[in-house]
Amino acid sequence: MKISLNHIRYYRNQYDWSDDPAPSGIDALVEKIGAQLGAVEEVEDLGQKYRDIIVAKVVNCVDHPDSDHMHVCKIDDGGKAQDAERDENGLVQVVCGAPNVREGLLVAWLPPGSTVPESVGKDPFVLGARELRGVMSNGMLASAKELALGDNHDGILEIDEASAKPGDDFAATYQLDDYIIDIENKMFAHRPDCFGMMGVAREIAGIQGQAFKSPEWYRTDVLIETPSAPSLKLTVRNELPELVPRFVAVAVADVTIKPSPLWLQINLLRLGVRPINNVVDQTNYYMLLTGQPLHAYDYDKVRTLDSGDGATLVVRNPKPGEKIGLLNGKEIEPRAEAIMIATETKSIGVGGVMGGAETEVDEHTKNIILECATFDMYSIRRTAMAHGLFTDAVTRFNKGQSPLQNLAVTDRIIHDILESAGGKVASELIDINQVQGREWVHLPVPVTIAFINERLGFNLSADEMKTLLENVEFSVAVDSDTLTVTAPFWRTDIETREDVVEEVGRLYGFDKLPLELPKRSIKPAEKDSLFELKSQVRAALAKAGANEVLTYSFVHGDLLRKTGQDPDEAFQIGNALSPDLQYYRLSLTPSLLDKVHMNIKAGYDEFALFEIGKTHGKSQTDEEGLPKEFERLAFVFAANSKQAAKAAGAPYYVARTYLVQLLELFGIWERCTLIPLKDADLGTQPFFLQVVKPFDPERAAAIYDGQRILGVVGEYTASTRRALKLPAHSAGFEFGLNLILQNPSDGSGYAALPRFPKVTQDITVKVPASVSFQSLFDLLQTELAKTQPEQVLASLDPIDIYQREGDVTHKQLTFRLTIASYEKTMTDAEATKVLDAMATAAQKQCGAERI
């Protein structure tokens, strides 16, 4: 929202120009606006741009002796320019090529040393005195374009201000000694009044502790004078009273359409609005001033669309398949619920959004219809969104403009149109009004001063609060400690006591809030166990050389398919701008694997990545009925062929090593087993079935904690590897972190240290290759527990797994028994006895042969 400081100044105190809104300078004002009204995005110093320009009169104008279009002019600048070269009459010579330059014309003269306003902020062009085809020219006479006042470069700007005289400051003449302050729109999302200059002027006065008074014409409903015998017949029918609470229209006959006076054009331009003509400019000006969008139609164009003798405006929804060509040159088929303005036969505008091209006011227009209506903010918003039409009118209507200002605004604008375009009011004033009394404004709010002070930490009196509110035209009744606050009609946002709290706090100044920390007890804050667990995992894996990554929660359907997952199980994003974000991910592994190839290519021979994140699947919901969230940890280890050649054994075992380290950290490895994925009962949960899809059933294992499957560890399927260009030497795991929390460790696993020396002995057994390590190890452990002497601490560790060349049907496993007693020194014979028993059991149960 751009505001002009001069507009603020004009409306601030009943047009009292001497009341400066920035008495302590612009910086102080901008700071105050930021602290008490809303963030200022930009401040533009217009005055700086126009400071050297002087109003001058062309006294003499002759053709240039050496040019077919240039003129040599003598201008009177009232002797203002200090260093200009003058003739004996005190006139300055300027060469000008504009076709419209002529004697008697008042022009904007840029004296030598001044900068062309158009070039300010780009590539500043400073004028001098120089010869043009042999004739000296001092500075230049400027066109509107060169003055950065529109696009017109057909000729020089003609100053039309009656009171202007040579030597006047051009900036002062058009109040261009101004600042344009751009305040963030978001600030005013609930403030329709602040989308008008007058509303902002009121607020600025309010935060400066000054009473603002809206002009008389705005505060009262004035009915314009209408002819007793209308010369133009105008009918309005509102078929959408719910969506259009007020529709005011009136016809004006015999207008003369021409460019607006310069001051009005400049007033629009400084706020970024392009001047069109003397009627459209007035509608835009009043919108900028009051926040009330207006629209003007060419009466005769409207009338001739129907066969009747007058013009009819119908407020209705579009007819099926109906299209409309808009003022922006585009044609749309409006959404079925859009509010259309139509004649009896066809639509001529999208109400509150944009007018139609067919009934536009142009230079041939003789009669006009002026519309001042109020449209439902939600409907306007949806229509604007549906068609991408974000106009100044939409910005204002979708904040909820008050329908109580329509008559005042209509009266005032008609007054100004008659003044600038001539003509006369030619129809009755049509006011289709669904608004009953003050219903649009919320009821008076009773609130105690304690309620306000408690929420702000202030200690304001009732009178202080009353003054603050009355400064911005609230009416406030004080009854001991209670204020009854009635908002003015333009404040549609004041509904609750908290709204009044905000108002008082803001007007008084939030920068005065007392900074005071809440009191607290010494009770420790409760820690979240999931955050703690994640933090542990992160530290452990980073210490083990792995790198934590974060990848997107959404994936392309192709990534799911590449890893064997079924997109039908995943929640689908319906409106993503990017095709890479089609589905919520079913597991983290595909996203993680997607980051492997690029890092190999980037020159990393060997690395491990992990991610902690949430996954979702359609098949499970939580107690709120929302999709259940699964907290997961995924890990991948990868090495390129060069690095893999240095390693020995399958990559599976690297992933397994990392996994076991974590499970040991959680203190649950003792009770976990790894079950070959192809043999594991994964249950019927379709979602978990998706998690294991990227893993090779022959070279992966389900992680089982004795009660449930926590996750999966292993290498990836050939198709996954191929599709994601994974190196052959890659493996990883994924498991549920919330499952770890549900089954926490039951102890540290610490055993007291025996005082007596330990004995170690190895045992090697040869078993059929089909016997799994785990089954043999479990068997040996069981036997150890059975046969070990009392009061010992014994452990059995795998030392070697070996397969003889040429014998693929067997393998040999070597284990080391370490045993120590709490009571005495162990002998080798005692250890041997245990090993013998273990060998016998292994022989019996799985055909093991002791080597």
Partner: protein, 353 residues
């Protein structure tokens, strides 16, 4: 499928190349065989009427060889079963068994490192923590937060929506703010208030905005929501709490300032700024030479939000804020492109080893 070829030269080459294929170590090399190239080179020399037929047969041979290469590849990729229960592989000497990668290469993600720091400070300030979900419903995203249906303020959140719907028939939503947890946190800890203790909770979470990516904009980022509710809580406490946190976080005295703002779920609402901790208001590229950094949105929790969570706004008041985590990390490390965070690039990640 074994093809037969009409042209004797092609038929001859087919026999020769298929014979050689069996012995090739790199099967794909068969496609680069000189014999094949030589035959292709003959095409331009042939009379016009023979050229087409010959070329077609040659292409068929090439396709057949390609097929053989593909099949061989897939067979080679399917690996034999391993004993997944063993701690290490067969015939691997002790010094080559799996070990961890060098510790100095490991890293935590910078966003997570920072999150842990922030959590730690708030723990010490008496806040507990709870994470926000990544999929939620319209009610928690908007309804519970005083955004009426169709309200323009909803436009400020470009939400991702699923094609699946919630129990009210509305699309599920990828939350655009961590405020989705406000209602849940207020309900969960309502007991605190009865015991005369405040609700003090920090809610970190991943949030989403459906917008195009560039160096400054991510569709995925992290937010830190704070909620504090109790008796006699006023707006000055909000400012003091945030100031205290930021001074602890940056380890120095800071100035703070508020600007009025509008959020449907707080009243009054503020935009909160701090004096630039990197230049102490002298001006630097982090603060764009403004000396101040606009950091977060905050405000006093709207009575409708309290009421929606079953609380009496007459008795209890509170404040809430939402701060971007990514921004803190970008500023702290002078990171030039926000997209690095979710890129998975080791070039980036290992700088945080």
């Amino acid at each position: 499928m074994v093809m037969t070829y009409q042209n004797p030269k092609v038929q001859g080459a087919a026999g020769l190349l298929k014979g050689r294929f069996a012995d090739l170590a790199n099967k794909a090399d068969i496609l680069k065989a000189v014999e094949l190239k030589a035959l292709y080179a003959e095409i331009p020399q042939l009379p016009d009427d023979q050229r087409g037929v010959f070329g077609k047969e040659l292409n068929m041979l090439r396709a057949e060889l390609q097929q053989l290469v593909n099949e061989a590849g897939e067979q080679a990729e399917v690996l034999p079963a391993i004993d997944v229960t063993a701690p290490f592989d067969v015939n691997v000497p002790a010094d080559k068994r799996p070990s961890f990668l060098p510790s100095q290469h490991g890293s935590k993600h910078p966003l997570m490192t920072e999150l842990e720091r922030v959590l730690d400070i708030f723990y010490r300030m008496g806040f507990n923590a709870i994470e926000s979900p990544e999929i939620d419903d319209d009610y928690h995203m908007f309804g519970a937060l005083n955004f009426p249906e169709g309200h323009p303020a909803r436009d400020d959140y470009d939400t991702f929506m699923t094609t699946q719907t919630d129990k009210n028939g509305k699309p599920l939503i990828a939350p655009a703010h961590t405020s989705t947890m406000q209602n849940r946190v207020l309900r969960k800890y309502a007991g605190n208030l009865e015991k005369g203790e405040p609700i003090a909770c920090l809610i970190p979470g991943r949030v989403f905005r459906n917008e195009d990516l560039d160096a400054r904009h991510e569709h995925t980022f992290y937010q830190l929501e704070g909620v504090y509710v109790g008796k006699g809580v006023h707006a000055g406490m909000l400012v003091a709490t945030l100031k205290t946190f930021l001074q602890e976080y940056y380890g120095k005295e800071l100035d703070v300032a508020t600007q009025p703002f509008y959020f449907p779920f707080t009243e009054p609402s503020f935009e909160f700024s701090l004096s630039c901790p990197f230049c102490d208001k002298k001006g630097c590229n982090v603060c764009s030479y403004a000396g101040w950094i606009e950091l977060l949105g905050c405000g006093m929790i709207h009575p409708n939000v309290l009421r929606e969570a079953g609380m009496d706004p007459e008795v209890y008041t509170g404040f809430a804020w939402g701060c971007g985590l990514d921004r803190l990390v970008l500023m702290k490390n002078n990171i030039e492109d926000i997209r690095h965070f979710e890129s998975g690039k080791l070039d980036f990640l290992r700088q945080f080893s």
